[in-house]
């Protein structure tokens, strides 16, 4: 098989970028999309040119590193997979393929197709955790969690943090990502004590990072490699509204207990 690739090249975060056209030869239908790009890069190296930088690691659809917009769709034409799970038999021989990076203000381009997704980490740092210390946890079976509840939490928890939802959203919003994290922890009893603080802090962090807001188009859900449902966004909104009401009833500063010496 043979393809004409139009690939976004950009030297660095502050350099201007442009599309460059490459030919991919001797592609077999059993090759993965990334293996096809490997081939292109090996040929570029053979000519002494700089290969196309793109991100990848596990190549089995779980690490969330790979991040290509292929012909206008994050992770390419198939649903429920990451770029590394896309195989060339999906394309017609001789097709033109346009490859772009995730595009969002919150994901600055580092080089070519590699973007900086630390914004998602910072959202997590704002509140995406259950603050329990290591050690001293009660027996795992003390807390009974119904199968349905556990499965619902798992549905949300399967997010791999690739950022395709942001790439697909017309507003470059990270709502589906935040929704998955918030819903996972709010569904489980372990996450309940901090649920108000968590949702508020994470949504504030999302705004701070420069992600857009949700327009309820559900493009995020359609490109999510792990089929995270947009109903978790409704769940996130519910949590947020609830947090606003619950928190408004609390004193803004925790009242100091009786003057005890510490």
């Amino acid at each position: 098989m043979k393809f004409t690739l139009k690939i976004w090249r950009q030297e660095g975060p502050h350099e201007p970028g442009r599309f460059v056209t490459y030919e991919a030869h001797e592609v077999s239908p059993g090759m993965s999309f990334l293996e096809m790009l490997d081939g292109v890069n090996q040929r570029l190296l053979g000519k002494g040119e700089e290969p196309v930088a793109f991100e990848q690691d596990c190549r089995e659809g779980i690490c969330g590193s790979c991040s290509l917009v292929i012909n206008g769709i994050p992770h390419g034409p198939d649903q429920g997979i990451t770029t590394c799970q896309l195989y060339m038999r999906r394309f017609c021989d001789g097709a033109d393929i346009t490859i772009e990076p995730w595009r969002a203000k919150a994901f600055p381009i580092l080089k070519d197709l590699v973007v900086d997704r630390r914004g998602l980490d910072r959202i997590m740092q704002a509140g995406g955790y259950i603050s329990v210390n290591t050690g001293g946890a009660v027996d795992g079976n003390v807390l009974l969690i119904g199968k349905d509840q556990a499965e619902a939490a798992m549905d949300a928890a399967s997010c791999i943090g690739c950022g395709a939802c942001v790439a697909a959203c017309k507003n470059a919003s990270a709502m589906l990502f935040v929704a998955a994290k918030v819903s996972h922890m709010a569904t489980l009893p372990q996450g309940r004590p901090e649920r108000e603080r968590r949702v508020s802090a994470m949504l504030e962090a999302m705004d701070r990072e420069g992600f857009g807001s949700c327009s309820n188009q559900y493009e995020c859900e359609a490109v999510c490699p792990k089929h995270i449902s947009a109903r978790f966004i409704a769940n996130l909104n519910h949590e947020y509204l609830r947090a606003g009401i619950v928190e408004s009833g609390r004193p803004s500063e925790p009242e100091s207990p009786h003057a005890e010496s510490s």
Binding site: G12, S28, G30, L34, E35, D38, Q42, L45, G46, G48, E50, P51, A53, D57, C58, R59, E60, G61, I62, C63, G64, S65, I81, Q85, Y87, R89, L110, K111, V114, R117, R118, L120, D121, M124, Q125, A126, G128, Y129, I130, V132, T134, G135, A137, V138, G140, N141, G146, Q149, A150, E151, A153, M154, A157, S158, I160, H184, M185, L188, Q190, G191
Partner: protein, 637 residues
């Protein structure tokens, strides 16, 4: 290097760890604040260690080469995590998990370490539940278990097919908390390129910022390596492409002993390679062997479609050779059996590299829906990669390098032979002996990171005399200079072959001569070929771009350069171990019916290798005493 001192506490097995913990010195809270620990790697071991150390009050500098700590390769573990909870009341216990692990490791691991691992396994599950990990549950709300990887009890906890990812996300979220609290400073996209030793103690690292190319020194009071295994030395493996040996190999060059490098596990159920373009091998969960039957045609060549071959002309080779365990035989045994039938020319598919994994019987007996429910996602994955429908025709599978039991030698405290250098998770050699059982790597990574290292490192920090070190210390400056020289050397070769070409060539060489079965002749020839390849590499490698920018080719070339040196160590170890045990199979040492022959009289020891500049590495032996489980023939027949 002095004699290896494993520092195993005396006394009964059950109370060694408890008494050891009590005898350890503690660091007072206000002193912890003044102590900095470097943690390299953010997989299960690294993330859990960094978060726990941060929680204890140390200042932690944490490094990973990914864009986010959540992407470490622990994330890819599918199957589950073992723990001796005995929730199923099927006769499991700490003792049984200990026994299974020792036996599974073919009596090449330390009793005390393994027993401790089994003891803390139960705490891991509790901790993970508290962190909000959505383990599979029964309808009544209790934790669900499944049987996994060649054991006879159900002790494996799981989160669908994503246990590794969920456990890592748990550790990562704990890490996020500590980052938010300011206890941990995270350095993503930063790769360790060298260690800094001052007065013989590990006091820091030299790291390269992968975005800007800046090389800088980071100093601390102790260094923890949690940098994973080295299966990628084989080029094609189930590891992520970023996994590499650089950190542990650099540590080895600084005097940390490397133990049992030849114990490399080959996983039986990967999708066979499809051609020269292949960049990695995809693992299919071992759970497929619960219902699938492995077979090849009895005679070769057989060009019929698998469905057209009547069952009488099929050789269900695992069931034939190991009637008691059948298709559930441990990984090393299954892999080797696959290799034997493929070597006989009975392999199926491209290049005869593959055997059938057939579900037609279970589909017939239990129905398509049952199989779809159990393995639907795996069948989909197989379909996506190969374009074949495994409900119609059997899958084809072939073994692939997967996990490395070998690693840097550590004592009971998880400290290497370099004082202040701790090694945890897959990067150390400790607990799996010559072969790892399924669902045990997650357990070991978290045991080290959550429950063992945080205690033992405290004792070191409390007792070692550690003066503060500025970041521009002479040793640090020297180390930076060495790293820069090496990078410049890579960039100035300007040869004709890419790093990937060298890597592939090395991988093929190792797979052929130091893979599933090894011979003296093969290893000797590999030991001759590797230095030549290395020399060619440094003469003819092509690295584009510059050192002071984002340069993936440069990162990769540096890793390949280390593989080219490390491969020699791997072969030395395999050559010296004149026995067959666990994942290490020497063709000269087998019984008449092709089973491995272990030699406890000569080889019941840990082989710890010491680096010598420009010379053959020196072997140190740590004898293994089995006081509680007398070694037996590991038979699964």
């Amino acid at each position: 290097m002095t004699r290896l001192n494993s520092k195993i506490p005396s006394g009964p097995l059950e109370s060694k760890w408890d008494r050891h913990r009590f005898s350890e010195k503690l660091v007072s809270p206000n002193n912890k604040r003044k102590l900095t620990v470097i943690v390299v790697g953010t997989g299960l071991a690294g993330a859990s260690a960094a978060s726990t150390l941060g929680q204890l009050g140390y200042h932690v500098e944490c490094f990973c080469f990914h864009d986010s700590p959540r992407r470490a390769h622990s994330i890819a573990a599918q199957g589950g995590i073992n723990a001796a909870k005995n929730y199923q009341d099927d006769g499991d216990s700490v003792g049984r998990l200990f026994y299974d692990t020792i036996k599974g490791g073919d009596f090449r691991s330390r009793e005390a370490n393994v027993y401790r691992l089994a003891q803390v396994s139960t705490q891991i599950i509790d901790q993970c539940v508290a962190l909000g990990i959505p383990f599979a549950r029964e309808y009544g709300g209790q934790l669900a278990n499944r049987s996994f990887g060649g054991v006879q009890v159900s002790r494996t906890f799981y989160c669908r097919g994503q246990t590794g990812q969920q456990l890592l996300l748990g550790a990562y979220s704990a890490l996020c908390w500590q980052i938010e609290r300011g206890q941990v400073t995270m350095h993503p996209r930063t790769e360790l390129l060298d260690l800094i030793l001052v007065d013989g103690q590990a006091r820091g690292i030299v790291a390269r910022d992968l975005v800007t190319g800046r090389i800088s020194a980071h100093t601390a009071h102790a260094v923890v390596l949690a940098t994973g295994g080295y299966s990628n030395v084989y080029y094609l493996s189930t590891n992520a492409s970023g996994c590499n040996v650089t950190a542990t190999y650099r540590a080895w060059k600084h005097g940390a002993a490397f133990a049992n490098p030849c114990f490399t596990q080959i996983h039986p159920t990967a999708i066979p390679p499809g051609g020269a373009h292949q960049a990695k091998l995809t693992l299919m969960s071992e759970s497929l062997r619960n219902d699938g039957r492995l077979w090849v045609p009895k005679v070769s060549p057989d060009h019929r479609l698998p469905g057209d071959i009547p069952s009488i002309e099929r050789d269900y080779f695992l069931e034939r050779r190991y009637p008691r365990f059948g298709n559930l035989a441990p990984r090393d045994i299954a892999s080797r059996a696959v290799k034997v039938v493929c070597d006989e020319g009975r392999g199926v598919g491209t290049g005869g590299q593959g055997v059938y994994l057939d579900f037609s019987d279970v589909i017939e007996q239990q129905g398509l829906d049952v199989v779809r429910e159990r393995y639907g996602n795996l069948f989909d994955m197989y379909h996506r990669i190969t374009g074949e429908d495994a409900y119609q025709a059997p899958m084809r599978i072939y073994p692939a390098p997967h996990y490395t039991m070998g690693g840097l030698w550590v004592d009971y405290n998880l400290m290497s032979t370099v004082p202040g250098l701790f090694v945890i998770g897959e990067a150390n050699f400790a607990d799996h002996g010559a072969n790892r059982l399924g669902a045990s790597s997650l357990m070991q990574g978290l045991a080290d990171g959550y429950f063992i290292l945080p205690y033992t490192i405290g004792h070191y920090l409390a007792t070692a005399n550690l003066l503060p070190i500025p970041e521009d210390h002479a040793e640090a400056r020297g180390a930076i200079q060495l790293v820069e020289t090496r990078i410049n050397r890579l960039l100035t070769v300007k040869g004709h072959r890419t790093a990937a070409m060298f890597h592939r060539e090395l991988g093929t060489l190792l797979w052929n001569h130091c893979g599933m079965s090894r011979t003296e002749g093969g290893l000797t020839s590999a030991l001759q070929a590797i230095p030549k390849l290395r020399e060619e590499f440094w003469r003819d490698v092509m690295v584009t771009g510059s050192g002071d920018s984002f340069n993936q080719e440069l990162e990769y070339a540096g890793r390949v350069a280390d593989y080219l040196e490390f491969a020699e160590l791997l072969c030395h170890d395999a050559l010296h171990r004149q026995e067959s045990c666990g994942a290490h199979f020497r063709e000269e040492y087998q019984t008449e019916d092709g089973e491995p022959r272990r030699d406890d009289a000569r080889f019941a020891y840990v082989a710890a290798w010491e680096y010598r500049d420009q010379a053959v590495p020196v072997l140190h032996k740590e004898p293994l005493a089995f006081e509680f489980v007398p070694p037996t023939m590991r038979s699964y027949q």
